[in-house]
Structures are given as structure tokens and as C-alpha cells.
């Protein structure tokens, strides 16, 4: 095999065993991150063919818009005994900084993945470690809970929030208020979920809002609508409303007029990096 090296039979048995670094074989970290100010540290030990153990420590600064970043980490020949990844700067929560550590052939240009050593969410509070940690997918387990204030629309304009690229949201709740102007028509606000074009889910409050009122609307997994109570209306939503990047959470208000005014929506979402 071109470029292959025969590991000497006398080499001590390695703890990690499976990952052998030959000539032009390196490690590569790949990250998809949403949190600000994150620096990742990749550290570990390699046992060389001479039997000695060599530590390695690298840092990687990922992008903050969930787009992919990657960095090849040059290595010598030997066995990967152990490796770990953690956030040495910043405080990414589970669901915000997904990383993968691979064995790759090459350093620049065409780089080929040979095997995956670590895969999961990097945090400052816990460490991804090899050996011992399973490779996990980005949408496994719980994500990060985020309270997000959306855009305050101009008068006569509906609420519309778009799930960011490379994010997956589970909508837990949404709250907003509508103030109607003096036009004597009944408004019926409908919470509408679409994939960016096609409507997937919609529910109205069941009670029409008349002129010159301010009513609060709350969406959550209530299971049923209720009659208006002190101007609070309910939008029951599915308990597991999973939304991919580009999906929209918006209102469609029947008979909305130019003087009607929605507040900013306040959303509670559980967020992951998209798989």
C-alpha cells in the first residue's frame, strides 16, 4: 500500500489500539458552533514507534454562525493513546458546539477521512474523551434552551421568525400581544408554522379579537384551546414541533388592518445543531 508503514511487532500495545498514525496521517477537527467566544482545545497522547509517549495540544476557533470550520492537526507516526476535546474559552451549552475528531490522510488539498475518533457536543463543563465516549449524533439527547426575543413588527405587519441555517428548533412556547386599532372588523390571529413555503401546522385561538383591544396570545403544548380569559388566548401546539433551518414561526391574522400592531414574540425553543 502506498505510504503505509508496518508497525513493528515489538511496539508496546496501545490503550486506544485502533488508531494508527502513519506518514501523512493526521487528525482533523471539524466544528459547527453557534456560541460566541468559543475556543476548543484538542489534546491527547501519541505513542511513537520508539515506545515513547508524546503529548499534543492544539486549539481551534470555530465559526459562530453554525457553519462548518475545520483544521488539520499535524501528527507524528504512532498510536493515538487518548484524545479529548473541550471548550477552553467560552461557555457553549449542549446543543451549541458540535465537533468531530477524525483520522485523516493528507494535510492540505485533498484530505481523506480514515476514521472517526470523537463526535459530540463540546462544552466547558464536561469533556469529550477517547477512548470511552460513544460517537453521538447532533440531535441526540437534550439541546440548549433559549429564550429568544424576535423582531417587533411594524404596524400592520405579521410576526415571522425564521429558524437559523444549520439549527434545529423545538418550539416550546411563544408569547406575543396584538393591539387592534379602531377599525370595526374581527381579527382572528392564527399561529402558523411552515417550512419556508408550505404550511405544516396552524391553529387559531378560537375567539375573535374586536376593535381597540390588546390581547395576549400564548402558544404551548396545552392540548386544547380555552375561552378568552382576561384577554389571554391560547394557541395549542404539538409537544414535539421540530423545525429545521428555514422553517418559519409566524402569525396570520384574518382581517388584520394597517393600524393593528403585534409586539415582539418571545419564544422558548430547544436548539440543536442540525444533523
Amino acid at each position: 500500500m502506498n505510504g503505509s508503514v508496518q508497525a513493528p511487532a515489538a511496539a508496546p500495545a496501545a490503550i486506544g489500539g485502533a488508531f494508527f498514525l502513519g506518514p501523512d496521517t493526521n487528525l482533523r477537527i471539524t466544528a459547527f458552533n453557534a456560541a460566541a467566544g468559543v475556543v476548543l482545545t484538542v489534546a491527547g497522547q501519541v505513542q511513537g514507534l520508539d515506545g515513547r509517549v508524546y503529548p499534543f495540544v492544539y486549539t481551534h476557533t470555530p465559526n459562530t454562525d453554525r457553519s462548518v470550520s475545520s483544521q488539520v492537526l499535524p501528527m507524528g507516526i504512532g498510536w493515538v493513546l487518548n484524545a479529548e476535546i473541550f471548550a477552553s474559552t467560552g461557555t457553549p451549552r449542549r446543543g451549541q458546539c458540535f465537533v468531530r475528531l477524525e483520522l485523516v490522510q493528507g494535510r492540505e488539498g485533498a484530505v481523506t477521512s480514515l476514521g472517526t475518533i470523537l463526535q459530540g457536543y463540546a462544552q466547558d463543563t464536561s469533556v469529550l474523551a477517547y477512548p470511552g465516549f460513544p460517537l453521538t449524533q447532533s440531535i441526540e439527547g437534550h439541546g440548549v434552551l433559549r429564550s429568544i426575543t424576535g423582531t417587533n413588527p411594524a404596524a400592520g405587519v405579521e410576526i415571522s421568525e425564521t429558524v437559523p441555517t444549520n439549527a434545529r428548533w423545538r418550539l416550546v412556547s411563544i408569547a406575543a400581544a396584538l393591539t387592534t386599532d379602531g377599525t370595526a372588523v374581527n381579527r382572528r390571529p392564527t399561529l402558523t408554522i411552515d417550512d419556508g413555503a408550505t404550511i405544516l401546522y396552524r391553529v387559531n385561538s378560537g375567539v375573535d379579537q374586536t376593535l381597540s383591544l390588546t390581547w395576549n396570545y400564548i402558544g404551548g403544548a396545552f392540548g386544547a384551546k380555552w375561552a378568552s380569559f382576561d384577554g389571554v388566548q391560547g394557541w395549542p401546539i404539538a409537544p414535539d414541533l421540530w423545525l429545521q433551518g428555514g422553517s418559519r414561526i409566524r402569525t396570520v391574522t384574518t382581517a388584520i388592518v394597517a393600524g393593528d400592531d403585534w409586539t415582539s414574540p418571545q419564544m422558548l425553543v430547544e436548539e440543536w445543531i442540525e444533523d
Partner: protein, 126 residues
Amino acid sequence: MRVQCNTCKGEYDTVTTDGLAYYHVCPPVSAVRATRADGTRAIVAIDKLEPTDTIRVQRAGKPVDTTIADLQPEDTRLDELSVDRPQARDERPYRVDEKTIGMISTGKGITRVETPTDAPADAVIL
């Protein structure tokens, strides 16, 4: 930083309270199919409707054509639409090349909004 979108006039903070970037995307335009006073049919944004425009509503369970001026409180507008907003701003990141990330559409841009300053240091909370 608080800004106003010059396209849709919505206001938002560019960074959310948890420190992550907020990506504004303009909402669609709420519109309705209408017949203008001169008889032409058009899709008209709700803020552009004239009292003389005729639209179709559901009144007492039946579809009825009525002018905006003659709308009754119980009327439910039919033929309502959400249409793409012209020059919509879409701040979601878009990879221009290996090292450059832009946004999908800048629209008409943004304007910084002055926010009220905090209470002066000698303010007394009662």
C-alpha cells in the same frame, strides 16, 4: 445593537440575550385579492387598500362582495394572501467562498435605533 429594518420597518436586537447572533428575515406582506374602483383585479397589500376597493368576505355564512367602506364587524375576509416582500432582508449566513460569509439578502439595509439611556446614576428607585 438595536436596529430597524429599512424594508419591513421591524425593530430587533442584532444579538439575543444569550449572546448569540439574531438573524432577521422580513415577514411576508399581508395582502388580499381586490377589485379596484376602475374594475381592475389586483393583489393589494392591506395597507394599500382603499375604501372603494371591493373584496370578498364571508357574511352570515355566505360569500359576499363588499367594498372596504362597507365592511361589517362580523365579516371574515376571504382571498387573503401572504406574498413575498419585495427587497426582503434575509440575514441568514451565506457562504460566498471558503473565507467569506455574507447574508442571503441585505434588502434595503438597516438603521440603528437609539435606545433610551439607562437611568442616571443619581436616580432614586422608589
